[in-house]
């Protein structure tokens, strides 16, 4: 990773905002999908795709690339947007999300979009796949490898038992090249995670399975990138970064509200802005950075 300058942080903030705008535009064009998760993870994905990852978007099958496995496939709008904005495919293709024969399937399918490392949708199997990838890297390259294996998971999906099978195995095998980032946004479809199925103390759970843990503000680029740096320095075990995020981040009426997990702007929901206003409000807020800049064209 290169050094993180203040100029770079400003650039990342702009990229994250562009990605959020794309997320809203693609969801509206698709007419269905998930809003809260992708908006909440926009900063983490921006940090990865524009600073952390070793990758070549114009040479996507480069063998030396870091591997990224998205476990909670339903937040794929943020993955697709980060990939498009970093050069894997044209940004305008984002508007084909969820359409017939689009490369951008409603949940990621690597046979449609071969730049993906995995297909996902059913929850809880991403960690197992990243463990398999890291095991091969160790078998083939031993300790000389310079690849990292990133897995992005939701917090609600940690209800799935398979995660803990994989977490146990990664601890047993001391897979130091694994860096998992959990989107700790505290919501899932039926409500708040601590009501549906309490996860806390999540950090202690991972620790007791032999993982190095970090807990950070998932909207602070410096915090994200420094945590990844510390995780990269851990040699003898896997690392997890619990990224505390605000679901729906950047669109005021969506923030922290589980009702926006599986809905898109333009949906009739009690207590929310009028259906017809929602898209306009969301795009206005993002284009003006929540009112920080006056003109949308500034």
């Amino acid at each position: 990773m290169s050094d993180l300058t203040s100029e770079k942080i400003e650039l990342l903030k702009e990229k994250a905002n562009d990605i959020r705008i794309s997320i809203i535009e693609m969801l509206v064009a698709a007419g269905s999908g998930h809003s809260a998760g992708p908006l909440g993870m926009a900063d983490v994905f921006t940090a990865l795709y524009f600073h952390v990852l070793k990758h070549e978007p114009t040479n996507p099958f480069w063998e030396g690339r870091d591997r990224v496995v998205l476990s909670n496939g339903h937040i794929c709008p943020v993955l697709y947007a980060a990939m498009a904005h970093s050069g894997y495919f044209p940004v305008k293709e984002l508007l084909t999300l969820r359409k017939f024969q689009s490369r951008l399937q409603g949940h990621p399918h690597r046979e449609f979009l071969p730049y993906l490392e995995n297909s996902s949708g059913p929850l809880g199997s991403g960690l197992s796949q990243i463990v398999g990838m890291a095991l091969v890297d160790r078998i083939d390259n031993g300790q000389t490898s310079d690849k990292f294996f990133y897995c992005l998971t939701g917090d609600g999906e940690l209800d799935e038992g398979q995660n803990w099978e994989a977490i146990m195995l990664a601890g047993k095998e001391r897979l130091g090249k694994i860096i998992t980032i959990v989107d700790r946004n505290n919501i899932q479809i039926d409500g708040y995670t601590e009501d549906v199925m309490p996860l806390e103390s999540l950090s202690h759970k991972f620790e007791s399975f032999g993982w190095h843990t970090e807990e950070i503000d998932g909207h602070n680029f410096q915090a994200i990138i420094e945590a990844v740096g510390r995780a990269q320095a851990v040699f003898d075990g896997p690392s997890v970064i619990i990224a505390r995020t605000i679901p729906g981040k950047g669109v005021s009426y969506m923030e922290r509200d589980f009702k926006w997990h599986g809905n898109i702007p333009g949906t009739d929901i009690a207590g929310e802005p009028a259906k017809a206003e929602q898209v306009t409000i969301a795009l206005h807020e993002l284009r003006t950075l929540g009112g920080q800049i006056r003109s949308e064209h500034q």
Binding site: R67, S119, S128, Q129, G132, M133, A134, D137, I139, Q162
Partner: protein
């Protein structure tokens, strides 16, 4: 009469015919595959010796991963290893893999298009005294319905070894069904074997009264029944369908044309298995009377393999009855 071209065991009718567990052929095949191809890795869920993966583990400890009793993880870790260029074999009892981890196999192996080879040991009702919880009699059905999956059910340990070796080069997800008990050795090293190509093990070219389509260890019982009828001047052919998917449609069609009446034989639920595959195909091309020998929508129980096969309708007497019944339907 026995099809000489198949070069079957010359001692096929001996009372003390050699018997070897089918799973043993898998273990030997995996070891050989490991020696031939460095990409081969083995993963097991705490049943390394009984699935015969220990032969591979002992030779290649650094290419073996002990997953623990966690079959869902077993399937998806293998998917990740395949993503990095390996050819992973995963083993457990068929009841647990593919029984417990079906969705992981569907999504992370098949939908992901990763060439993982799944060996399901202790399949069928003949696992015996362990009882119904351990008798996988639905595995062919649940594997057959997943796109891309190749489904193989070898008739003896030699065929299992050949299937295991041949699977490495397929570049596709494969399910290999293995039985626990000692099973009569039907084929020899010289017998032809090609994935997707059924073998006419009994009968010669031309017409016959009935065709039996069998898979797995029950191929031996089908052969004995055919021999018995042949002595009574009723001509019966036996097709060994070791690859359930892709089905050798040409061979099945030819048998249906030659015989005009068929019996399918499998140690599996009638719903969704070999018989279903045959019926699905023939009903669209040359509707043919078929009798199905298999488990009739019930669970098994404890007992010896012979007791159970007899009780649940897969004994030689049941195959004979099915042959006689289907002849009358011509």
């Amino acid at each position: 009469m026995i099809n000489k071209l198949q070069k079957l065991n010359p001692k096929l009718w001996d009372k003390d015919i050699e018997q070897v567990p089918i799973r043993k052929g898998f273990g030997e095949g995996l070891l050989a595959a490991g020696e031939l191809d460095e990409r081969v890795v083995g993963l097991c869920a705490d049943l390394t010796e009984s699935t015969q993966m220990h032969l591979f583990r002992n030779k290649f400890p650094h290419r073996f991963i002990e997953i623990g009793i966690a079959e869902q993880n077993l399937a998806s870790v293998a998917s990740g290893m395949a993503a990095m260029g390996k050819v992973p074999f995963i083993t457990s009892y068929a009841m647990f893999s593919p029984g417990r981890n079906w969705e992981q196999i569907r999504t992370t192996i098949c939908y992901n298009n990763r060439p993982v080879i799944i060996a399901g040991s202790h399949a069928g009702i003949s696992v015996g005294p362990d009882g119904g919880t351990h008798q996988a009699i639905e595995d062919l059905a649940i594997m057959r319905v997943i796109p891309k999956m190749v489904v193989i059910s070898p008739c003896d340990h030699i065929e299992a070894r050949k299937a295991t070796l041949a699977s490495v080069g397929l570049k596709a997800p494969v399910y290999i069904r293995l039985a626990r008990e000692k099973t009569p050795v039907i084929t020899t090293e010289d017998s032809p074997f090609e994935i997707g190509k059924a073998n006419l093990v009994y009968g010669v070219e031309g017409k016959a009264d009935v065709g039996i389509i069998a898979t797995g260890a029950l191929v031996y019982r089908a052969l004995k029944v055919a021999e018995k009828f042949n002595k009574e001047k009723i001509t019966v052919k036996v097709l060994n369908v070791h690859t359930i998917k892709p089905l050798d449609e040409k061979a099945v069609l030819e048998l249906a044309k030659d015989c005009g009446a068929l019996v399918t034989v499998e140690e599996h639920q009638i719903a969704g298995g070999l018989g279903s595959a045959v019926a699905e195909y023939l009903s669209q091309h040359i509707p043919t009377p078929i009798e199905f020998v298999g488990v009739r929508d019930v669970f098994g129980q404890s007992g010896t393999p012979d007791e159970l096969l007899e009780y649940y309708g897969m004994g030689e007497s049941h195959i004979e009855e099915a042959v006689q019944k289907v002849m009358k339907r011509k």
